[in-house]
Amino acid sequence: MRGPTTVEPVPGRTDELIINMGPQHPATHGVLKVVIGVEGERITRAVPHIGFLHRNHEKIEEARTYPQIITYTDRMDYVSGLQNELPFILAVEDLLGVEVPPRAKLIRTIFFELFRIASHLVWLGTGMLDLGAITPFLYTFRDREMILEITEKTAGARMLPNYFTFGGVRRDVHPDFFKDVAHFLDFFETRLPDYYALVLDSPVFQARAVGVGVLSRERAIARGASGPVIRASGVAYDVRKAEPYDAYPELEFEVPTRPEGDVFARFWVRFKEMEESVKIIRQALEKTPKTGPYKGKVPPRVKPKPGARYRAVEISRGHLGTYVVSDGSERPLRVKHRSPSFANLQLIPDLFVGARFADAIAILSSLDPVFGEVDR
């Protein structure tokens, strides 16, 4: 069912105030605009408006060759940059029939999970900033900085590294890589208790989060939510388990779920995911040989055979899928991205209406949308 697309003042109704929240509001994580009607502090109507960051990704990608597109996919969810490259690369690898060496798969997995931690740290910091706590923001960004430095050493850029490529990764990891990552993990594990103390265990946070913005299991499935949002509603759906890719089949990890579906559950799931990521990276580090091939044999001109392929991965925000249609030339006929934030954002009218205004901010930060990926 389509919801209303605008919020018009009701004639004769004077107790409702219509507010444009965004696109320049401090808590909209970029450029979301939500037109909301409030009665005092209670939200009566909410209509999200998106598209302020539209950059025409899918159309541009039709005019680019396959290796060039990888650069563009990075720019979708810029907070977890590297993760976005993978679904497209997997799809093209399938079309090309390229063998990926196991070491390359493991390296990719390590980076993938590092960026999950990085992205969740950004979410944690900005989410707590929305809830009024300034300090976790600086702590999380400081920890994320270490991940970005590790990435820069190997891949040459911090947020949008353009590092994965067909058949593996572009260059071998830096000699210090394994040491750095292990050091980061040790460091991060000493930091996690602080985050628990400042966020999850904080009674003020619990007062703000428990029972707020409850998303039922059915509603979450109906709206196509994915990622931590759906797992916090009790659905153990994780692409890493459902359709394993790269090195995930060899690695042991759990999919944390929680049945409540409130803001607290979404925060909790992301916390546990960071812990799971640490576990995954540790296993992968053990398995990865120090030297070896990092890239499979790929023809110099990437020309997949005609056909179509859909591959999905579990990025920090959920199910990111890419559908690639090839006509056998150097450029794809069509590339379509299925982005998780976009689907999760559809929950805004459901969750906002009836909530208090301050809750709306908490709900929005628990959905953790990134607008590069919503608008594409």
Binding site: R64, T65, P67, Q68, I69, T71, Y72, D74, R75, T135, Y139, R142, E145, E152, K153, T154, A155, G156, A157, L160, N162, R170, R171, D172, V173, H174, P175, F177, P193, D194, A197, L198, D201, S202, P203, V204, T291, Y294
Partner: protein
């Protein structure tokens, strides 16, 4: 009684939070003092791109148009003409619009002779965006200024104080160059 227990739990949790904050007071600040202390960025880091000229002042670039072809944002414009003496081509124009460059280093990777490279310089800030449209003179200039640069083919190279170009020692090299170094010195495209 449960109310008191709850309140006590809450007070303890707040106390834990306060403790977590206060214990950081003695930790050193991680602030980077940028203009006072310039950060050292790894050689593979994609910041400025540069055209490298050989020691004798000729272009390394052979005008093969590979970089123009792979650039995803299509900011490289090359015009070439046939080399009057000998075979191959020479550059007439090489423009690179840093304002639209995505710093993806696809061009660096594609270059067969390591003519276009990443250099460690990162201070591109200008007041007028048009000044970011670099032409060949500027790219050459950046290349001349650079002390070290990186390209996937040759790894990190350094310019010695007396103007020679040498391959950097292995400890300066990023990963994946072990096999390259094992091949020995064969890289100089002169």
């Amino acid at each position: 009684m449960s109310l008191f227990a709850e309140v006590w739990e809450a007070v303890k949790a707040v106390g834990a939070g306060l403790g977590a904050v206060n214990k950081r007071i003695s930790e050193p600040a991680v602030t980077e003092f940028y203009p006072y202390k310039k950060p050292e960025i790894p050689p593979v880091s994609v910041q400025f791109l540069a055209l490298i000229q050989n020691e004798d002042g000729t272009d390394r670039c052979v005008a093969c148009l590979q970089c123009e072809r792979v650039c995803p944002s299509q900011v490289i414009t090359i015009e070439r003409k046939r080399n009057p003496e000998g075979k191959g081509f020479v550059l007439e124009r090489f423009d690179l619009d840093f304002a639209n460059c995505m710093h993806c280093a696809n061009c660096v990777e594609a270059c067969p002779v390591s003519a276009i490279v990443t250099v460690g310089a990162f201070e591109h800030a200008v007041y007028d965006i048009n000044l970011l449209k670099a032409d060949k003179a500027m790219l050459d200039h950046i290349g001349h200024e650079a002390k070290t640069w990186y390209s996937p083919k040759f790894g990190v190279e350094i310019r010695t104080p007396d103007g020679r170009i040498e391959k950097a020692p292995p400890e300066m090299q990023p990963g994946g160059l072990a096999e390259l170094l094992a091949e020995g010195e064969g890289g100089e495209a002169s």
